[in-house]
Amino acid sequence: MVRTTVEVEQEETKSDSDSKIQSKKSDKKRKKKSSEFEFCKVCRLNHDQGQRHRYFPNHKKSLSIFFSRFQTKLADVRFFLKNPTLLRPEHASRNRLWCVFCDSDIDELGSSFACSNAINHLASKSHLKNLRHFLWKYGGGMDCIDNFRILEADVAKWEKKCNSLKSGAVSSKEASHGPVLGPSNDIHNELNYVNVNSYTNSSKHSIDSRISSGIMPLQNHTNEYQVSNSGPFEVANAGLYSEDFTSNLPLETYSGTSSLNLNVLKGIQNLTQIFVPEVAGGNVHTGAPPPWFEAVEESQVNVGVQPVLGSFATSSSKSGKSKKLNPKRVGAAWAEKRKMELEMEKRGELVNNECDANWLPNFGRVWQSGSRRESRKEFELEKQKVLKLETQPEEPRLKLKVEIQPEEPIKIQPYISKRMVRLKFPLHCMFSISP
């Protein structure tokens, strides 16, 4: 019996190995098939070129667009990495990131800081692995690997900041009955923030947390929505909003929610109605940044949606334009090269390589025949001669004239325009050239 079981096991292992071989074969077949036709998610294209597809100019172009689009999203994440901010549950659904390398959607539901899941994901090993695989598969160079992930040292710093922010938030909640300036200033002092944006964010959050402990949740929600969304349009909203107040809500409920307004509200009613949303964001007296700064900040808060649309529009318009242009136009190669350089500079990939101070464009000079490059060379020669002159100041000038003159009369070939010949202008009238 024992033998038989062993035999059976052996047979099983045999059959296993057979099946493995078979599966390997089928894998190979699959690979062959896939090399025949595979989907390039950068170009969004099915192709049968295999690995050499990634060297195609079209692929490279779309890869650079692909990268730049993801970079803009990452810039937002990096902003929150530098300035950790509390994330309220209402905004959690909007704060998400699609990781193009891992093909996964990273949402922030249940996380207390903005982009915390995204930051953890971008620092994770699985992301690194996927990123490496992506770069290997679609090209792009391993040297840009750090552009698309977050280093663990940064994450550690971020976590430290988060912890201190948490403690600050807790203290602000405890001191929620005090004036607005108090807790936000504490946070300011604790963390030694340099960035003004983060300062406003934290102060706003402290206010919001205070408000949410107040009476009317629905009304607060709309209030926050308006404040967070409308930077420049605040005044317009304020009008609508104050109407709501006067019609639906008695003044006392609102004044109960914000202690700062109380004194003002008792005084003049009209003025306070206009001031309501502004005070929630802070004003000149509380040291908040002006609205035009806030507008920038809001655009950074709304992760991803607008920049993507913008880049789509620009890329489509660019491609449409380039189709129209004549490939044989003057300086077409230069234009393409320069465009690529500018694009790279915009993305910050290429270090800004300025042309040297002696750069000159090609220019066909007046008394010069031949190509335009030649006249530039001639000019550079002249300049060198002049420099030599300056270095030898004692030399008599007559000598130099003697040196230069024999060369140049040969070169005097002013352009005689066909038009002038056609119009039969007498040559000697127009020119007075020394023989």
């Binding site: 004549n326 003057v330 320069r338 000159l360 007046v366 002013p414 352009y415 325009s417 002038m420 020119f431």
Partner: protein, 151 residues
């Protein structure tokens, strides 16, 4: 007039505007803001800069600044105002029946003259031509004489 258009005073600025104007005609006016002919030309340029903005950009270069002397020499500028055209960092010549085909010397009589010239250059450049014929009738082209090395 000069404050209405971008005025360049450094060589690097001129470099960068030549290099970064892509698929557009670059109109560089070399001159002095106080000169009367320059004033007339600047008036024409700044009034029509917006109208040609889709295919051309206009900039002024102050020839009195030390830093652009190299360009003044390189472009053989002897009269002001002189207007030089570039397309994709390539110099565009114009055959207008005058002695100098490398630049436009003098002011344009009207806005429309300037627009026509820039358009002719743009169309020529888009067809790959480095020199174009002047679309203006000869009576509207300013006349001048060129002397070789002041001889």
């Amino acid at each position: 007039m000069c404050y209405l258009l971008r005025t360049l005073t450094k060589k690097q600025e001129v470099d960068s505007i030549i290099r970064d104007t892509i698929d557009k005609v670059l109109v560089l006016r070399f001159g002095r803001a106080s000169d009367s002919a320059c004033l007339h030309l600047d008036d024409v340029l700044c009034k029509s800069a917006r109208e040609v903005s889709k295919f051309a950009s206009v900039a002024l270069v102050d020839i009195d600044s030390e830093d652009v002397q190299v360009y003044v020499k390189y472009f053989d500028i002897t009269f002001i105002p002189s207007t030089i055209f570039f397309f994709n960092a390539h110099h565009m010549k114009m055959d207008s029946g005058t002695a100098d085909h490398t630049k436009w010397v003098g002011a344009f009589h009207q806005k429309q003259d300037f627009i026509d010239v820039v358009e002719a250059i743009f169309r020529g450049a888009m067809k790959g031509k480095l020199i174009v014929n002047c679309p203006l009738p000869p009576e509207r082209i300013p006349k001048y004489q060129l002397l070789y090395k002041d001889v």
